[in-house]
Each structure stands twice: as C-alpha cells, then as structure tokens.
Symmetry: C2
Subunit: 480 residues, 2 copies
C-alpha cells in the first residue's frame, strides 16, 4: 500500500509528456500482447483492458492545456502522434494547431478531413485563423470565409494581407474602446456587463466618434481612480502606437524596453485597428531566436524531429551545397600550390591550423557586429571605430596565437623559418578575419539584406581560402 | 521656411540614438572650433553657443525612457558615453544601470562615486538592487543594507541568495494580497485607496492568515463580477505556482505556453513569497538566446562594443585556445600521412572538402538535437529513433554529395579511383557526423552538462580529425 502511494506520488511529478508516453506504452504493450493470442481471446481482452487504457489516456489528455498537447505531439513519432491527435477534443484542435511548430502542424493537418478543419477554425479568432491560413487547403479557407459574418470576414482578409514579419501579423482585434467624456463609474458598469474581458486587457482604448485613438485608460488607473473622475482626466495620451506595416522586430523591441502588456495598432490616419499583446510578442521573440540559431547551423527552417529522411534532406541541402562550393574553391587554392606542398609536405599538415583559427576568430567578430546591428547600435561613425578595435584585437591575438603555433611548428619540424611563416600567416589571416568580419555584415546591411543570414558561411569561406593562400604563398616565397 | 519645416519633420523621425548623436556632434564640433580660437574669444563663445547646445542635449535626455538611455549609452564610445551619463537625472540612474548590459554597466559604475551609487539605489525596489548587487562595490552594498527598513533588508538578502538562473532571481515582491471571505466591493474599495497598483498587476493573490496562497483573483474577473460576489466564489484555485529554486527556464516555458502576465512564487509550505512578471521573463528569454548565440560563436559573454582591445581579447581567448588544440590534433592526424601526401599531392587539396562538409552536416544534426533537448522532447525511447533518422539523412546526403565530389575530383585529376575514394570518405565522414551529432549532446546531458555549450566545437573537432583520417587512410589503402 505504501508502495502504491509512492508510485502515485512519483507519477504526479512526471511531466505531461512523460505521463502520456507512459500511458501510450501501456496501451501498445497490451495491444502487442493481444495480437500474439488467438482471435477468439483477442476481442475479449481488447474490450476490457484496452478500453480501460484508452479511457485513462483520454482522461489525461482532456485535462491538458492545448499548448502542452502541442508540445507532446511534437515529441512523439508520427504513428503515436496521430493516435493521440485523434483523441484530442474537437474544441481544442484549433488551439493545438496554433501552438504546434510549422512542420508538425503540417503532419496534423494532413491527417484531418475538410470538415474537421472547418470545425477547428470555429473556435478561433480571425487573427488566429489568419496564422493557420498558409497551412490550410484552399477549399477549407473558402468555406471558412463563407461562414464568417462580414466584419470578421474583413478582419480575416486584413490579417491575411500583412507580411509575415510585420506588426500586422502579430495584431489581434480584441480591443475594448471607450469615450473620453464619460466617468469611471460608467466605464466600470460597462465592463461589468461583459461576460469576460479579452485576455491581456491591461488598458482600454479611448477613441472618438471616428475611431481615432485619443489615449489609453490603464486598468490599473481605472481601479485606483475615484468613480467620478472623467476618462479624459485619467487617460494617458502618451502611449506606444504601432503601425501594421512596421517591422515586427521593432514592436518586440518596444515591448521589451517599455515593459508593455499590450499596445495599440493604428493606421496612417490615426484610426485604431487593433492591438498587439505580450504573449504574441514572446512567441515572436522565441521564434526569431530559434530561426537565427537554425540558420547559423545551416538549416532552412525548424524541422519535425521525426520528419521522414527525405524531408530532412530537403531542409538541409541548401547550406551543404553552398558549403561545398566554398570548399571546392578552397581546394583549388591549395591545388595552385601543389608543387610547393610536394617539396615541403609539412605544409599540408599545417595549413588547416591557419584556416581554422581564422574562421573561429572571424565568427567571433561577425557575431558581435550582427548583434550590434540588430540592436541598431552602429552608424557610419562607429563603424570605423569598430574596425579599428577588431583589427587591434586580431593583432594582439595574432601575436599570441601566432607565437604559439610558431613554437608548435618549430617543436615538431625543427625549422625556425617554417615556424616564422606560420606566425606571419596566422597574424595576417586573423587581420583578414577582423576586417571582413566587420565589413561583410555592414555590406549585407547596406544592400538591404539580413546580416545574420549567411555571413558566417561567408567569413569561413574567406578565412579558409584566404588562410590557405596566405600561408602557402608565404611558404613558397620564403621557404622554397 | 518650408525647408526648415522639412528638417524639423525629419528630425522628429530620427531614433532617440540618432537625435542624441546629432546633438553630441554639434556640441563637440563647436567645442573643437572654440579650441582653435584664442583664449579671450573662447570663453565668450562657450558661454553662449555651448550652453545652448548642452541645454538642448539635456532637454532631449530628460524626456527619454531609461531603457532608451541605456540603449544609447551602449552604442556610444566610452568618452561620449560618460559625457551623456553625467547628464542623466539622478532618479533615472538606477533604472538605466538595470537596463544596460553587464559590460556597459561596469563602465558606468566605475565612473560613479559611492554617494551617487547609493543615491541611485534609493529609487529601486529590493529585487532590482539584488540584480545590481554583483556589480556594486562592497562598501556601497553595506551602506544600502544599513539604509533599508527591516522587511526590505530581509527581501534583499533573500533575493541575493538565489542563484542566477533560478526563479528566485526573476522574482519581485510587489504582490497585492486579499482574503477570500470579502466581497468584490471591498476589494475595489481597497484598491481605490492605493495611489497606484504595481506594474503588471493582472491578478490579486488570495491568502489566508498564515500567508498560505489559496487562489488568485484575476483583475479581469474582478471587473466583470457583481460587487456582491465573494472573492472565494470568483477566485480561481488552478494557477501556476513557481518555487524560488525552480530553474528560470521552466518559468519562462510556462509563461510562453500559458500566456501569463504574472505568476505566484511560493515556498515549500505553500506560503506566498512573491511573483514573477512577464517583462522580467522577456528579458530573461532575450538574454538566454543572446548567450546561446555568443557561446556558439566562441565568446564567453556579451561584450561592450567599445571595450578596450585587451578586454575583448580576454573575452575571446578561451574558445580560440580550445580551437587551437583541436586544430593541432587534426594537424598531427595529417602529419601521420605525410608519406602518402608526398606520393599523391592531390590529397592535400582534397582533404579539406571532406572535413568541411562533415563539420557542416554534424552541426546541423547537433542543432536539431540541442533544440529538442532544450524543449525536453527526447527520452531514451526516441533517442534510438533519432539516431536512425540522422544516419538515414547522412546516408542520403553522403550518396548525393559524395557523388558530386567524386565527379569534381575526377574532372580535375582524371582519376576514377581517386574520385571513388572521395565518395567513400564523404559518406563515412557524414555517417560519423550523424552518429556523434546525436551522441555528443545526449552524453553531455547525461553528464549533467549544458548540451549547447561546446558541442559544436566538439563535433567540428571530430569531423575534422575524423575526416582527415578516413580520407587519408582510404587513399593510402586503395591508391598507393
């Protein structure tokens, strides 16, 4: 009995994912066992034990938050994932789809019929349907449009029209508006008539007859104000106003800096269109960071952990191909010096050191610069200062590590001149890495490209080919 | 006149950083001009134009949010930074220090006297002082402790005692508590007696006489409830409860999944200690993502853009040294095969291709796995599935890219057997990359280490040395 209690206790400390996996395994174990038995017995066992197991699984699922269900589905292999997905309550389908990663969302949608998909959207707001839209079949979207009342149809059309990384794509339409010439008491009475307030309502938007945004009344202000106070006396007119065409990153920066919970979105004429809330911003920030990490590693996009092999190959081939081209170039640079290498084969063993450290150092510089560019902290003035600083850092590093590799070389090959060539090559390649580590992202930026994308591959290409060239030509000049 | 208007318009569209930089430059330009003139004239000019310029700069600064000031200080070279820092209002000093990055904060604190520092803390909450504490001189902290009332002194001591990445470090003490046996009307009256509510108050915490947390009353619920309703009838007992010793990352995951604005923190006995708010969580998420990116690039920590050269060298040397060691090892692997390379010098030109693509592919795998580990989506069961999948991806990639490099080799060196060796080496190195790309992060995790830290360096070391070894031994066996 004591043991059973203990087990219960441990089980309740398991994460939702672990609980589901445990139940799933139990279910599948029994199924496997049943399949071993003869047909007659089969149905009998299934009807009792398995029904019980399924019921337990179902009960567990029913009490989970849609975000947790999405997380569990992402962690399960396809077969198990679809088994569980079939058991999720229809009213949660939409929310789970919203929370799942793009790749996993696709596998779930593929498994659903049109009717199920349309039903799933019925529990969603228009801005949420817009988020799902790119993954939904056209005929489903047509049906969804048909079924919406006119205002919502317009909202959906608007929400779908904003580009992915714009404020418009983060916006929702759940705004509560009030007039400035009423008293707090009236506002309180108005709110009390509602069943509930939209999530993340930390402020009410004060608009005039033409829906022009005049100010915001913070809920916290409403609560501490005298009921007789006029809205116009308590509202604040200084507020963050976003535009739907603003870059989403700017909105995220504003939320981070000014500690916002929600912010208004207005059109160019000052008319209130909607709002952005902090939960959407957090999702955006996470996704941005994730994409950056994935791109750095040469992955096109987030991958379903259990994606079929060919799908993963597709996601990864682009950067491998780019890398192959730069490797071919580096190989040809070495090819030019084959005569030198034939005469002094130690060069072949030493050259990867020069290239490797150059790449590492260049990536350090690039990361610093890309980060500062993202925070908008570099102008033309400071660019020169930064180049000077990075050159300085590389000069110091070059002297230190150049000396180390020089001594290493001398120790192994007993040649002082070979050691000196290593030292010189190291210094020069680090200087090259510093210069281009600053110039590559700044140039990408000037050209209107994302400096984070591909600059790491480029600097590595430069320090590889450049490093081989510098080292092998120095060796050819001074040693042969 | 029209032009002047235009200029005004453009100026107002500048970012705060650009406006400050513009004013600063104007100020320094005049100063430079004045220095060129003779002494007599000097004082006259300075007293008029410069006072005016300084006043404009001051006016601009005074209207900026502390977060914006911190951002501007980060973007300015040290000299300008300290000039502006001296002009920031004393009551903003503490907030600016909080918002600035660690490296920049240090430069600012070094510039301040003890009295200024103590004054700066007077405008801060105890949890904020705890955040600054590691950067403050001991004697300042002693004085601050002395000056605090006893409860706050205890709070500060508690806040300082939590490790950096724990929920305790994110916690603040601004909780509003109510009792469950009162009516909404009483709660509303209680709130109205306060001057203002703490930032991010989206819920009131319901506690009993012993400060045991019984539930939470959402502000949104309070607003829509009938004034006669009892708190116990409107409060919700299902809520997120954090513990101060929880890993901060878990709290961040909860905020992201459940779209929280604030969450309670309780001790093991259920006593309410404080709360965590979404703005702190956003800062934490950003910092985490940043640190990950910096670590990947081999930087120990965030760097002041304008740090002195030697400080930057210190921040970067560790990973360069690690890299150097792995490069030395790779170099010695090649060294073993010097005889083979002497006989067939093409090997020297071709070997970096095998190593490079292996490293790229291995890093793709590592990134996938590290990400899944961070989301807690891998258990022992799925580990085998993942290894199988990654091996599959590598086999396909190896066949594709192996064939490409084989043909490239044949085209250049007219040797079919050399091409075949390239193909085989590529396939084997990609398989090695896949296997270790899964095993390295899983092993680090098993050993209780952070799988994100250093696994990229390790996989590159393996695919470099391994790639050279595979290729050169195949060549030695089949070609020589």
């Amino acid at each position: 009995m004591a043991e059973a209690n203990n087990k219960d206790k441990n089980e309740s400390q398991l994460t939702p994912l672990q609980q589901i996996t445990y139940q799933l395994r139990k279910y599948k174990l029994v199924e496997g066992f049943v399949n071993l038995q003869d047909q007659a017995n089969h149905e009998l066992t299934e009807s009792s034990v398995q029904k019980q197991n399924l019921a337990e699984l179902q009960a567990l699922l029913d009490q989970l938050h849609p975000a947790d269900i999405a997380h569990i589905l992402e962690a399960l292999p396809l077969e198990d994932r679809l088994l569980i997905w079939g058991m999720v309550k229809a009213e949660h389908d939409g929310d789970v789809l919203l929370e799942a990663s793009d790749a996993v969302r696709e596998t779930l949608i593929t498994d659903m019929g049109s009717h199920e998909l349309i039903a799933a959207t019925e529990y969603l707001d228009t801005d949420e349907i817009a988020d799902l839209a790119p993954n939904l079949p056209q005929e489903v979207m047509d049906d969804v449009f048909q079924s919406l009342p006119i205002t919502e149809r317009e909202q959906l059309r608007a929400a779908m029209s904003y580009p992915e990384d714009s404020v418009g794509a983060l916006m929702d339409f759940d705004v509560l508006t009030i007039r400035e010439d009423v008293r707090m008491e009236v506002v309180l009475r108005y709110l009390r008539r509602l069943d509930e307030l939209p999530d993340h309502t930390d402020q009410l938007f004060v608009v005039d007859r033409n829906e022009q945004l005049k100010g915001v009344l913070l809920i916290n202000k409403l609560l501490v104000s005298d009921p007789d106070t006029l809205v116009s006396d308590a509202m604040s007119e200084e507020m963050i106003k976003l535009h739907p065409d603003d870059v989403a990153k700017h909105a995220a920066n504003a939320f981070e800096r000014y500690d916002l919970v929600s912010a208004s979105v207005i059109d160019i004429n000052g008319k209130l269109l909607g709002r952005v809330t902090v939960n959407t911003v957090i999702d955006f920030i996470r996704e941005e960071a994730e994409n950056e990490a994935l791109n750095l590693a040469g992955l096109k996009e987030e991958e379903d952990l259990f994606a079929p092999v060919l799908k993963s190959v597709k996601n990864r081939w682009v950067w491998l191909a780019v890398n192959l081209v730069t490797a071919f170039i580096a190989s040809r640079v070495i090819g030019v010096f084959e005569d030198s290498i034939e005469k002094l084969v130690a060069l072949a063993a030493l050259m990867p050191i020069i290239a490797g450290i150059g790449g590492n150092s260049g990536n350090q510089t690039i990361t610093m610069i890309v980060r500062a560019l993202a925070l908008e902290q570099i102008d033309n003035n400071s660019a020169w200062k930064l180049i000077a600083k990075e050159i300085g850092v590389s000069a110091v590093n070059g002297l230190i590590w150049g000396t180390v590799v020089g001594l290493f070389t001398y120790a192994i090959y007993q040649s002082a001149s070979l050691g000196l060539v290593m030292t010189m090559a190291m210094i020069l390649n680090l200087l090259l890495a510093a210069l281009l580590g600053v110039l590559i992202p700044l140039t990408l930026r000037k050209l209107g490209r994302d400096p984070a994308l591909g600059s790491s591959v480029m600097i590595t290409a430069v320090t590889d080919s450049g490093g081989f060239f510098i080292f092998l030509s120095l060796a050819t000049i001074f040693l042969l």
